[in-house]
Amino acid sequence: MPMSRSQIETLNAGSSTLTLSLDVGLYPRDVLYAAAYVFLDRAYVLLDRRESRFVVHLRAKRPLDEPTLHAMAGEFENELLAQALRHQVAAANQRIIEDVVSVAIAGAAGDVESNAAGTLEGAPLIDPQDPEDGFVADPLGIAHPWEPEKPGTG
């Protein structure tokens, strides 16, 4: 596999250390933080930056052999990819998340008034003063609990 964007720079089983370098253009700082955070319980992590690359120094908290250190490097790279995807999805859905939370809070508070344009944006979902607002009315009868009839009761 070509490793032009991230690569193992050093790996030393004697000291259970390894050094990775990453392209800063490929992995935002938030992604690097998130991936490093995951490893804090099993390794000592030191981040650095050298020109256009992030440098990640890892030292395992317990002795590791060379294959295990290689595996740890791979896990770190996998974690970077996973966190990059999470970062991308969160950014893409940021507006939707904010809108949903805003409407939920406004509806729960019930104190948001219609805006000047008279649109429904920002309006409370339920008017507690209006008994016909759909909160109490149950035209479809969905509020009735359903239980199978017992034999001999029908």
């Binding site: 250390t17 700082r29 000592y44 992590v45 981040l47 930056r49 992030f54 120094h57 030292r59």
Partner: protein, 83 residues
């Protein structure tokens, strides 16, 4: 991780200013204040932390744990919008 430079009394670590927040480092130093003494200064692109009077009877690597705490604090600050 690169071996911090050290003499008989003091260990020095260099934390890149683009990746570590100063208040995050300070908070980590406060956390470990009972185990060592910390002196923080800026030097070019790095913060330089001189760590001295490290407690020797501690189970674990005080300097490396301090670096982990500084990183965790920096990440949390970044996530909460303080860095």
């Amino acid at each position: 991780m690169p071996a911090p430079t050290a003499d008989a009394e003091t260990t020095t670590v260099r934390l890149h200013r683009a990746l570590y927040a100063e208040d995050a480092i300070t908070e980590a130093a406060e956390t470990f204040a009972g185990l060592a003494s910390f002196a923080l200064r800026a030097d070019g692109e790095h913060y330089v932390v001189d760590i001295s009077a490290i407690a020797r009877d501690v189970d674990g690597d005080v300097v490396a744990e301090f670096c982990n705490f500084a990183l965790a604090n920096s990440a949390r600050r970044r996530r909460s919008g303080h860095a």
